[in-house]
Amino acid sequence: MASGLKKSYGDFEALKGVDFEISGGECFGFLGPNGAGKTTTMKMIYGAVIPTGGELSVAGLDVYHHEREIKRRIGVVPQENNLDDELEVRENLLIYGRYYDLPKKLVLERTDELLDFVKLSEKVDNRVEQLSGGMKRRLLIARALINDPEIVVLDEPTTGLDPQARHLVWDRLRALAAEGKTLVLTTHYMEEAARLCDRLVIMEGGRIIAGGTPKDLVEEHVSPQVLEFRARHDAIEELLSRVESSAEAVERTGDEVLLVYTEDADALVAEVRASGVEVENTVHREAGLEDVFLRLTGRRLVE
């Protein structure tokens, strides 16, 4: 549903031609470091950024000509809290329902259902400013559902939340996906992408650099086994030259950690032991999305 999508601000190109297609009912993720163009892409979907080039259609409607109609059919959970803080939880949803011209009776019914869905029913009469960060995020999700949208767009839905709050949000988003809603989200948490997304794209510097299911991405871009070696700075250099030949790929994150990708971890560990290089700590694990990410975006994420 997007092809050749571009956005420039003066000389700066925030998006340099992006293509993707999201099918109905799937959870689609945009993954990438800050400044990769994720939020810009999301804002284009809900009309807060107008592309400077390319095509983009949402729910089959062209964004250049059907702004209002698209907005009527999607729900948006923004990155920043923009609730009416001085109003009560219920009032926030009532006001929002009016923007969609929904009858008050319907909004009241949905308010009860949605607050139940995001587990905020007890807070219905509380002022928003009294809610915790996790509750506000859940209320933002409930608000985005007030018009019963086909597509829910979520910009970093769990950034800044503590682990409990994050799990609760994930749980609710999976429930939404199970209901058949199309979810489009951005994140820079690999775990979030791996847990929620059916398919995802990895963005960097305004471009999509890889895409597929989490499983495909791991299979395609990294070897199945990862060894994380931690060692002193000078030992790392030595280790690097030793393993470079036998490993499929080596990635350095920071000064003292080496990620080594291989088909046969045991052989490689044996080799390192035999070499006598002083290693402080070794972790052996399965490769995941995070490795794909580091592999593709290199150390730039860390910087």
């Binding site: 956005k7 969609y100 018009n147």
Partner: protein, 265 residues
């Protein structure tokens, strides 16, 4: 360049409705200063300074009678100006309320039009309260401040005056990036308008070009209209009303476009 966006009434109404909902919860806290301020001017200048202007007053009116209706106009100006500067800026920059609204079928241009309507409504609401107080005070002290049934047209006129100053305030708000800059607007625009628009003394008595300059400023006409409606209007008041309508209409779409560009990348 894209064609200018014309706001939809439906969207503007929804934004106006949001403000009404919030106002209904908090109107009492905002009411007091809005009421008290013109009363303070009325007492200090009308009674205090007015004591020295006994002989004949101005155009056959006592000084209190002269300034009362003018304060109705300035009250509307202040109400709409605060709404369209500080309040709008906070919603735009700090609370991100507009960002939330524009993800719904309500567009950025509707938001600004809704804010105009709301600022006008607030000016009319508080102004009507103040008008009622002027009538009551005039009756109580046996010196009527409002002497014509035409005064019934003052509330709708205050709505229009409020919208005019909302357009002006929003124009300034749309151009600035820091909230402290509003001090310039109030010191260099609103205060001079307040003092030199014929509320406290007729500007016509000033040497040229003061009266001519005053003619080109918005509050001058708003004061004329309120004073004439309070005492029984002459035909000339039509010119003042037209001036307000034309000025408002000519400027109204400019802040809409600038604000749209601030909200939509």
């Amino acid at each position: 360049m894209l064609a200018p966006r014309i706001p939809s009434l439906r969207g503007a109404f929804r934004v106006w409705q949001r403000n009404v909902t919030i106002f209904r919860k908090f109107w009492i806290s905002g009411l007091f200063p809005n009421f008290i301020e013109p009363l303070i001017y009325l007492a200090a200048l009308g009674l205090g300074l007015g004591a020295f202007i006994q002989q004949g007053g101005i155009s056959g009116q006592s000084y209190v009678q002269y300034i009362g209706p003018g304060l109705l106009a300035s009250n509307a100006m202040f109400a709409a100006s605060f709404e369209s500067t500080f309040n709008t800026f906070v919603k735009l920059r700090f609370d991100k309320i507009y960002d939330a609204i524009i993800t719904t079928p309500v567009n950025a241009e509707d938001v600004i039009a809704g804010e105009y309507l709301w600022a006008g409504t607030r000016a009319a609401l508080y102004g009507t309260g103040f008008l009622a107080m002027l009538i009551a005070l005039g009756t109580a002290f046996g010196e009527p401040l409002i002497t014509s049934w035409w005064a019934l047209l003052i509330p709708p006129m205050l709505l229009l005056i409020g919208i005019m100053f909302s357009v002006l305030g929003t124009l300034f708000t749309s151009l600035i990036s820091h909230i402290d800059l509003f001090a310039y607007y109030f010191t260099l625009v609103i205060t001079p308008l307040f003092l030199f628009s014929g509320i406290f003394f007729p500007v016509e008595n000033f040497p040229a070009p003061v009266p001519q300059v005053a003619w080109f400023t918005p509050l001058y006409h708003a004061v004329n209209v309120c004073r004439e409606l309070a005492t029984g209007p002459s035909v000339g008041v039509i010119v003042d009303v037209l001036w307000i309508v034309v000025f408002t209409g000519a400027l109204a779409l400019i802040p809409v476009q600038i604000m749209r560009r601030r909200l939509i990348g």
